[in-house]
Amino acid sequence: MNKRQFLKGMMLFFPASVLIETLAKQAGGGDTTATDSRTARQAAGAAEPAAAPGTGEAGAGGTAYDASGHWYGMGIEIDKCIGCNRCAVACKTENNVPPEPFFFRTWVERYTIKGGGETAVECISLDPKPRGEAAPEDRDVLRTFFVPKLCNHCAHPPCVQVCPVGATFSTRDGVVLVDSRRCIGCRYCIQACPYGARFFNHGTNTADKCTFCYHRVVRGLLPACVEVCPTQARIFGDLKSRASRLVRFERMNNINVLKPALNTEPKVYYAQLDGEVR
């Protein structure tokens, strides 16, 4: 083969291969079963849905979900939490969080404040086994209580600010989401979150966090942790609706947020929050 033949062949080969590939993509355009995220990204190709952010079918209801009409938040009443850990367990089931006991989208902390101002914090979700025998009463303990924690879905989220590829963002209804296809797993957001709400998912090799169970909320269901909470210590609602339980909760309680000095404007509101809680 001489140079002339080679160039002729190339001139035919490239356009032909592009044409064949395009035809193949269009034939399998709706194929969403591709497991590898890169293949899926290419397969979706020009057929990417052009919906506005936050629009999607509202499951069984059939009515379209309008994200701009909502602004979601959660209320947590410390005095009602019994530390049963049902929320953390339900969250793992609902969201396929890795089963190892140190990956959580939501978890419960036990605060023990002793005389002399010594505060001990322990994550009870790490060892959710029920106690067989009641622990002996420690006379030195001033007060002790449980604090459920999760992503605060800040209005000014530091994690969104630091993401170098724009994989994490706030939706128009105030939920901070992570695009697991765009996330490069650099862990900046995990470092930036002042609440420790993010973790690195070793299954997907991306950052992972609470989504307020967005897939449930748009279907009109409650987040899994709120659904299973036996004492109504967690309250989920829409801050734009006067009738929502969360607005009522804010009216009836003294509300605090975690680390207000950081100006992150969290949307997880705590009632009866002790000053020792960090």
């Binding site: 009641a134 963002f169 109504q232």
Partner: protein, 243 residues
């Protein structure tokens, strides 16, 4: 001027390369990769498309309205069904094929009701080791309408500690009246009308002597066992196996 043939060929190769680059940019790479709006929309759509595991109370009520109505009148009225029965969305889709979990053993209820000093005051808590050991919770408490199995009555209303002790002893099935006789006046003025107590070794011997009729009670020979001591100087009658 004649157009050189080499320039034409070079131009064709350059055109092919440009076309290939354009194809990569506009055909192979999805638009959502360049458009923030589309990228976020596709993330939201993927998030929304995720399956639900917890069906929610409204779905349970459609079929199990009797349990639901009973639950709404009891202390567990604010509990979702799936708090105890586990995620049941698949059961709601196909009720015959998939059955939800139903906790029946003693380990489940203490997850909430076992004593823990951090739990809020007033939340009903028990010590699982001392509260009717080995009995399943549901044998006394209906989880859909949990109340104490019986309100304290007769002796246990005042003598609750003795009643609780006796309940775990081998004398659990003996009514208080087996050994004590209390007049009606004892309920009105307890200190002035004291109930009777057994006074002789022969009283215990009615069950525990070698010639006693009761086949289940352990037997001793009253003539040789314990000498001059009374039975209750060594054996506490409300918990005879205790030391």
């Amino acid at each position: 001027m004649r157009f050189p043939e080499q320039v034409g060929r070079l131009g064709a190769v350059a055109a092919v390369l440009v076309l290939a680059a354009l194809a990569v940019r506009f055909v192979m790479i999805p638009r959502s990769y360049f458009s923030t709006r589309l990228h976020q929309a596709s993330t939201v759509e993927r998030e929304i498309a995720r399956p639900v595991s917890f069906a929610g109370v409204a779905a349970c009520r459609e079929c199990h309205f009797e349990e639901y109505d009973r639950k709404t009148k009891g202390y567990h009225r604010n509990l979702a069904c799936e708090t105890c029965h586990g995620p049941s969305a698949r059961h709601a889709e196909d009720p015959m094929a998939v059955k939800p979990y139903a906790p029946r053993d003693r380990t489940f209820c203490p997850v909430c009701h076992g004593y823990d000093p951090s739990r809020p005051t007033g939340f009903p808590q028990i010590n699982p080791a001392a509260h009717n050991p080995l009995a399943p919770c549901i044998s006394c408490h209906n989880p859909h309408d949990p109340v104490p199995p019986e309100v304290p009555h007769d002796c246990s209303a005042c003598h609750a500690k003795i009643a609780r002790t006796k309940a775990v002893s081998s004398h659990a099935l003996l009514p208080c009246a087996t050994c004590h006789t209390a007049s009606e006046q004892h309920k009105i003025t307890p200190r002035t009308a004291l109930p009777t107590k057994p006074e002789t070794r022969e009283f215990c011997g009615r069950c525990h002597a070698t010639d006693a009729a009761n086949p289940n009670a352990p037997k001793v020979d009253l003539a040789t066992h314990g000498g001059a001591y009374r039975c209750w100087q060594c054996h506490y009658p409300h918990l005879p196996e205790g030391r």
